[in-house]
């Protein structure tokens, strides 16, 4: 098993190496934290020993070449990993100090707190724009009576309100790709998550839409924690406060280093990080 431990100087984002007994350590850390997390698909060891901290109200970019386990990692953070048959994990993921994999935790409640936006814009096809935004409230049986306010608020935060306020009853599929993705963001916001995971949210979009979504992400970080997987180095440098660099040597993916975005792009500790962010491989 490969085990990487990083000694970080930056106290905001530190990788907490493997502790002898993670549960005994009382943490007052606010935000999301992983402790030596591993992931398997059947016998395939996909991710090894990732320990990271995502402080509240920050944007963290997960970067690295394809197949290094970024998407697997992000799906571990809201318990979507377990939907894949034969998937397994080890280690712990703490949200404000409590383990989301604790047997007493309801996975559905975890996903309510840790939302997710997918690579391809995917509004629900049979629903209107308004219904799409409110879909999560219905799905999770949340009691809310100010539906109109929620729709306006979420669409505004996702930067879509002005464009669609006159046609909330139109089908979500009638929007352009970039608008659809912002609708998906609005949909995630409606259930008031504390953390929003984004798995390459702009990879299917044109540059203009990409910029709109990046603005949205920065605004979101005033209230919630954002974790974004991206293959676009410029995007990572534009939107994120912190970056984490993943890599694989043919075996399981692992974390090379994590630090503030400025340091990662100007003076990283590991030469491989420097090569990757400068586009020398990957």
């Amino acid at each position: 098993m490969m085990q990487r431990t990083m000694n970080m100087t930056n106290s905001d984002l530190e990788t907490t190496g493997r502790t002898s007994d993670p549960m005994s350590e009382v943490t007052s850390f606010r935000g999301l934290e992983t402790r030596s997390v591993h992931a398997w698909f059947g016998k395939h060891h996909a991710l090894a020993g990732v320990s990271l901290r995502f402080p509240e109200r920050t944007v963290t970019g997960l970067i690295g070449p394809s197949g290094c386990g970024k998407s697997t990692f992000i799906r571990l953070l809201n318990r979507m990993h377990e939907f894949i048959p034969s998937a397994a994990m080890a280690g712990s993921v703490l949200l404000n100090g409590s383990d989301i994999y604790d047997p007493s935790e309801d996975p559905a409640m975890i996903r309510l707190k840790v939302g997710m936006v997918f690579q391809k814009p995917n509004p629900f096809p049979a629903m209107s724009i308004r219904e799409n935004v409110l879909a999560g409230i219905k799905l999770a049986h949340l009691k809310r009576d100010n539906h109109d306010d929620i729709v306006e608020q979420c669409l505004t935060r996702a930067g879509l309100w002005k464009e669609v306020k006159d046609r909330l009853d139109a089908s979500g599929g009638s929007l352009s790709g970039g608008q659809q993705q912002r609708l998906c963001i609005a949909r995630s916001l409606a259930v008031e998550p504390q953390v929003l995971l984004m798995d390459e949210p702009c990879s299917a979009l044109d540059p203009g839409s990409t910029l709109r979504i990046e603005e949205t992400i920065k605004e979101l970080a005033e209230k919630i924690t954002v974790i974004i997987v991206t293959h676009n180095m410029q995007q990572a440098s534009r939107v994120s406060d912190f970056c984490a660099f993943f890599l694989t040597d043919g075996g399981p993916g692992y974390l090379v280093e994590a630090d503030s975005t400025r340091k990662m792009f100007t003076n990283p500790s590991d030469p491989r990080t420097a090569d990757y962010v400068q586009g020398k491989f990957g």
């Binding site: 809201n78 979507m80 939907f83 048959p85 559905a108 409640m109 996903r111 309510l112 939302g115 997710m116 997918f118 690579q119 391809k120 995917n122 509004p123 629900f124 096809p125 049979a126 629903m127 879909a135 999560g136 219905k138 799905l139 999770a140 089908s171 979500g172 599929g173 998906c184 949909r187 995630s188 259930v191």
Partner: protein, 328 residues
């Protein structure tokens, strides 16, 4: 300043390779063959039945009497033919039995398809799918025999229960408490014949639901049932309707099972628990063996009516499928 003259659009030509031309010929021939066959069948039915429609007109469809004057052929050609042919109750019977079958089969199929696709353990998934396809291939004669020998005993109990509790409603009332050969019991057997096809199609459609739509439901804190209700079922709706129409086609045209299960009675009846009924297809099968020439023409006319009903059902179905297909 020179003005640019708008050029005439150039003609675009396509050069097909030899292989392309041969393949094109083969598929065109295949498509035309099925169309021509359909046309030939239709014209045969129209040609052979035109005399009957000329003689009986609309009465053929609405009337309630079927009498073949079969003695006339033996001797006295001088005596006028007193045959009367009409199939009103059989048409109603076809629709009633098929409706009962669909009301039972569609919910069962949707439930079964959702179970197999989303709840069945992986280890039995393949077995279930294989068994379903096998069941769809069992001849309806087997279902008919099973219906008479085994199912009727259960069906009668259900019918008795319905009559006992809901007998005040006209459709659940009876004239004689003999539920065995009733449209209700026949409809149940027909449903068991329809379920495998409809379930198979529904399962296939449900399995095509984009994975990330289902994942999105989970990511929003939804349960499995929530994902099924808000994504899987709306997404699969048009496909399930198409599958149900395949089943309805089988139910409307079903011959042998109904032939075994129902007494043919030429009387309009809306009492689905009463032992009267029949449908067009089984009537044709029943009468064909001993039919006179004129009666055969009448049976072919009945076949034409069934053909047209099936055609209308299919057109309505494809219309519904088109309108309910989600656009995205």
């Amino acid at each position: 300043m020179t003005t640019v003259e708008t050029p005439a659009p150039r003609e675009m030509t396509v050069i097909y390779s030899r292989a392309d031309r041969v393949f094109r010929g083969i598929v065109t021939a295949g498509a035309l063959t099925s169309l021509i066959l359909l046309g030939l069948i239709a014209s045969f039915l129209v040609y052979r039945s035109s005399g009957i429609f000329r003689e009986f007109g609309l009465k053929f469809i609405t009337g309630t009497e079927w009498f073949s004057d079969s003695f006339r052929e033996v001797g006295d050609e001088a005596r006028p033919d007193s045959s009367v042919f009409s199939i009103g109750p059989m048409i109603v019977g076809s629709v009633v039995v098929a409706t009962i079958a669909m009301l039972i089969a569609v919910p069962l199929s949707i439930g079964g398809a959702l179970y197999i696709e989303f709840y069945a353990p992986r280890s039995i998934y393949r077995v279930l799918v294989a068994m379903l396809d096998l069941a769809a291939a069992i001849p309806s004669l087997i279902f008919g025999l099973w219906g008479i020998e085994i199912f009727t005993a259960f069906g009668v109990r259900w019918a008795t229960f319905l009559n006992d509790r809901l007998g005040f409603l006209p459709i659940f009332s009876v004239e004689f408490e003999n539920f065995g050969r009733s449209p209700f019991v026949a409809g149940c057997v027909l449903a068991s014949l329809v379920v495998p096809i409809t379930t198979s199609v529904a399962r296939e459609v449900y399995s095509r639901t984009p994975r990330d739509l289902i994942d999105t439901c989970y990511a929003l804190g939804g349960s499995k049932w929530g994902a099924i209700r808000s994504v899987v079922m709306p997404y699969g709706r048009s496909g399930v309707i198409a599958g149900a129409m395949l089943g309805l086609g089988r139910a409307l045209g079903e011959t042998v099972a109904i032939y075994l299960m129902l007494n043919l009675v030429f009387k309009y009846s809306y009492q689905i628990l009463d032992s009267t009924g029949g449908n067009v297809a089984s009537m044709i099968a029943l009468k064909f063996g001993e039919a006179t020439d004129r009666e055969i023409s009448a049976l072919i006319a009945a076949g034409l009516v069934l053909f047209i009903i099936t055609l209308i059902v299919n057109m309505v179905a494809s219309n519904i499928v088109q309108r309910t297909t989600p656009r995205s």
